[in-house]
Amino acid sequence: MGLIWEGIKKAMELLWTLDPEVLGITLFSLKVSILATGLSLAIGGAAGMALALTRFPGKRLLISLINTGMGLPPVVVGLFVTILLWRNGPLGFLEILYTPSAIILAQTVIATPIIAGISLAAIQQLPADLRLQILSLGASRRQMLLCLAKEARLPLMAAVMAGFGGVISEVGASIMVGGNIKGSTRVLTTATVMEAGKGNFDTAIALSLILLVLTFTVNAVLTHIQQRDRPR
């Protein structure tokens, strides 16, 4: 018990004094995960919308694949991205393994299916005739798509949050493709694993608290969105 209590006390101190290392790791984690979420939104959001609004053979299969992808184990993603980026691998020429770019790439692979799956559902739950209603008000195709996205903005926001929540808290991929290099590829999760391994529970607890606050915020916003009533 004493260990935990001491840990929490020192963790508070680290947070209160804005320990430069903890602050640096936090900001770096946010930067990497926000970038990865942004990329995933561009790819996954567009894919989800396209999938919701078109009909083609094999659509069901593709949707099942995306839904499976929503639960990809980060370690598996980490392994495949590592192989891809390995010096002799197909993307080895990029020379980005063990750099922040590699983490962003791996996290994008994790978050894209999550965002695509939720965006797909978000657009599908809009009334079927809404698309026609927008067109009949005089919208071009591009304006119609924008308008639909705006109508689905809350569930789309939920998609972004879910994607962000997924990547900020994963450790398997970051550690494999980033390598937890101090000052370069160390993120909240990999640092927590390392500090705990070294017995530095105070720092580990401080890092965990920050992660907890981040995930709590994400979930609070998600819950708020889900509980909101829908228009007629």
Partner: protein, 366 residues
């Protein structure tokens, strides 16, 4: 006005297939500017599909649609057409924002400048009685309010053609009545050309100049309301339009819940309080009309007219006797009564019906 005026909207050889099944087959369709056309038919008769096709929201499998004589061929052509017409759906389909922004949405898409938008939004909101709701969130509106907002969002565009797909079918009766009245006067005031899909004959009579009856994807009859209702071409139309006799008339006097309506120079008494001078339609069912050859003992029938039998048609277990009393009437009688009255074409007969049997329909021409 030239007699051969070009229609504002026409369709030729329209065919719509869905999943290999033909859902619509309309060889010829024409709509004159300023006309309100009601498309009536049961659920699944193709009303919605026809509306969506005419509004260019759905591509026909075959056939052409012509707007002011020009075929809608290319995608830019169809987009330009959609900026000049609009459609109101069964569901209000409002955007998740304020009522004012909903009303403004189409104007923005059509590039109407800001100050004009504000002015037109206010005017349309007044027409539909939703001015106090403009700053309200659309998702907080009741069903009737939402449908009013949806209609206002269409009228504010001043569309050259307005397509309406049963916009009242989801509403409770009192809400629906009030909305029908407001929609009727909005259509009259703006002289908007409109196509309204409905499965309700009375809605059609109240709002439209012409009726087209749809059955299994085909227009089985089209014409003025009077023609379609009084002279159905087949049994389907007769059964679907229900009330068989519809007479146009003008109110001459009104009071104490009763009114007198002049029909072809004669006076019919009916229940209702329309304003004198108002043009109305009188609906009557043949089963409510009794026939006799001699003036009998006093009955409670307020209306009694002498006419000549024009035609006797068998109708299942009954006969339908058609009369000319100065206006057209029809009555159902049993084979035995037919024998007892010794009715034959050309013979004079007395037709009577109660004031309560007359269904007063206030029309868009009132």
């Amino acid at each position: 006005m030239t007699p051969a005026q070009a229609p504002i909207l026409a369709a030729r050889g329209l065919n719509v297939h869905r999943g290999g099944v033909q859902v619509l087959e309309i060889p010829e369709f024409e709509l004159q500017a300023g006309t309100v056309l009601a498309l009536i038919g049961p659920n699944g008769s193709g009303k919605t599909t026809l509306l969506k096709t005419l509004a260019s929201l759905q591509e026909p499998t075959e056939g052409a649609i012509l707007f002011r004589g020009q075929p809608l061929a290319s995608r830019p052509g169809r987009e330009a057409y959609r900026k000049r017409v609009t459609m109101v759906f069964q569901e209000p389909l409002l955007f998740d924002t304020t009522v004012a922004r909903n009303l403004e949405a189409g104007l923005k898409l059509r590039g109407v400048p800001g100050p004009e938008r504000a002015r037109r939004v206010l005017a349309a909101a007044r027409t539909f009685g939703i001015e106090p709701l403009l700053e309200r969130q659309a998702r907080k509106l009741s069903g009737g309010e939402a449908q009013r907002a949806s209609l206002a969002r269409a009228f504010v565009l001043e569309p050259e053609i307005l397509f309406l797909d049963e916009p009242f079918s989801a509403l409770d009766p009192p809400t629906r009545e009030a909305l029908l009245d407001d929609l009727g006067s909005a259509l009259r005031q703006t002289r908007t050309t409109a196509v309204i899909a409905t499965h309700d004959q009375e809605d059609a009579l109240r709002l439209a100049d012409r009726i087209a009856v749809l059955h299994r994807g085909r227009i089985v009859q089209s014409g003025t309301c009077f023609d379609v209702v009084n002279h159905p071409v087949d049994e389907f139309v007769a059964e679907f339009v229900g009330m068989e006799i519809v007479l146009p008339g003008q109110v001459t006097a009104s009071g104490m819940g009763l009114c007198r309506v002049a029909v072809a120079g004669l006076e019919v008494e009916a229940v209702g309080s329309p304003a004198p001078g108002e043009a109305v339609l009188l609906g009557l069912r043949p089963e409510h009309i009794t026939l006799s050859t001699h003036p009998g003992p006093a009955t409670s029938a307020r209306n009694s007219f002498t006419g000549a039998v024009t035609r006797i048609v068998p109708r299942g277990p009954f006969f339908k006797v058609e009369l000319d009393c100065g206006f057209w009437l029809a009555a159902f009688i049993t084979p035995r009564s037919l024998e007892e009255l010794a009715l034959a074409p050309g013979q004079p007969v007395l037709a009577a019906f109660k004031a309560t049997a007359v269904h007063l329909i206030r029309t868009r021409h009132s």
